[in-house]
Amino acid sequence: MRWKLLTGGGLATTAMLLAASPVLAQDGDVVVEEVDLYVRFGGTAADIAQTVILDNIFIFIAGVLVFFMQAGFALLASGLTRAKNSSNMMMKSLMDAALGVLVFALVGWGLAYPGGDGGAWFGFAGWGIPGLMDGLPDLAGATEDGFYPLSVSSDFFFQAAFAATAATIVAGAVAERTKFVAYLAYTVVITGFIYPVVVSWQWGGGWLAERGFVDFAGSGLVHLTGGIAALVGAALIGPRIGKFGADGKPRAIPGHSIPLAMTGVFILFIGFFGFNPGSALQADMSVPVIAVLTLFAACAGALGALVSSWALLKKPDTSMAGNGLLAGLVAICAGVGSMDVVPAIITGFVAGLIVVPAVLLIERVLKVDDPVGAVSVHAVSGLVGLIAVGIFVDEASIGTQLLGAGAIIVFVGITSGILFGILKAVGILRVSAEQEIEGLDVSEHGAPGYGPDMLTPAAATA
């Protein structure tokens, strides 16, 4: 059994009948017979199959958009760090997707969707992905409530993109000082254990799902998980050389390309239109509504960060506004399946408003060096999103939302703490001071991301 819970009902019931049969009226115009908008399936078996195929192809396209977010994360993190680490940043985003997808397939899937009676804390359905090569799902019972239209392959494609997203959140927070091999080890553990176990609690039908926890597209399951791992990782690795002065005051280490970073933000903006509407898990008329709520929250988030950066930093800071847009997107994930318009805008705006002081607090008070603001954008905004659902959605309880958030924070905090602690104890977590000063591009990958224009004698005389 694999599902994401569509709660709040309002959207689910607007699902449309797709199999209305056109008939020719007397005057030759094509008219559509009156249809029942509240029934998704109807008509012949072939009509039903068409609806199910449409669902599957829709999820495929949404999954492509979510995978595209890897490009956004890579550009955002690379742009907000120094040129000498640009190749390393791109490489981390590439490899956490490449390695993460295969590890998630091998073991993560079985942990995320353990089957059984549900309500569990932990379960394992076995290695690999049973039924991956099957085509259309069994259409028996397709017209009944709760029918799950996705084939295993559609489902895996979409969920694997989410696993890669959860993994890559950490890359920016630990940027410019982490050994590449340590990052690979981290990728295996988060996509093969930490993220799937958290997912099983809700989308795998576990204990949170049973208690009525609401997290439609993953403010908690994806972003809070990635954000907490990012916080623990950045804290245990320690700040970059020169980040904090002798007096303990943070110093700016400007990124090497705001245009690259903001291009990354725009790509993530687009990617979220796969992330949130795709989480409807079927092609119904909730999709465009979710898309608009996502859009509103993103815009409100950028506006919120604009206001708070202007107030706190005296200038409308470009990358902070970018962080604010992402904060709005992250925060709306949880409630986008059941919220109304105004609450969605408020949620996005508050997340954007908070992200700027969160960045300052993490840097100035916690003394944690997070070069791209990953902890603020993903952990803090994820939390804002979960709480907003508790406030604005009648069916949700704020207590359950906080319980879920707390459980994610504790579980991810402990497991990622053990992971990064072991890597640190073994001595493979952080590069040497010389390597860090030289830059990870050359010391870890052999050549700089922005290579020299070679003017060798051979080239000059050619």
Binding site: G242, I437, V442, G446, A447, P448, G451, P452, T456
Partner: protein
């Protein structure tokens, strides 16, 4: 008047700047330069093929000083720029015939 020119490791710049400020130096000029000395270059690897990086990035620091302050300045740079490893750089001193502050027209040691 003397012009003290130092070529140092880029990451020692902060320490050198602080060292010079602490002995009362009022201004310095820096530029990013490349070159080779005894350190030589090194090789990097791009898609399996090696290439030589023969010129290493350095920072050039230029300081004007009155003759009696010259040793104080070179000592401060030496203390701050030294890591003990190859590639720490060099300092040289050249005589300067005139210095003029543009804003006020002051000249000589008054302009330093």
């Amino acid at each position: 008047m003397q012009l003290i020119t130092a070529v140092i490791k880029p990451h020692q710049l902060d320490a050198v700047k602080e060292g010079l400020k602490s002995i009362g130096v009022a201004g310095i000029t820096i530029s990013e330069v490349k070159g080779f000395g005894r350190q030589g270059g090194h090789t990097e690897t791009y898609r399996g093929a090696e290439y030589a990086v023969e010129f290493i990035p350095k920072v050039k620091v230029e300081v004007l000083a009155a003759p009696e302050d010259t040793t104080k300045v070179t000592d401060a740079i030496t203390a701050a720029a030294a890591t003990g490893k190859i590639g720490d750089g060099k300092i040289w001193v050249t005589p300067v015939s005139e210095v003029i502050r543009i804003r006020t027209g002051e000249s000589g040691t008054d302009a330093i």
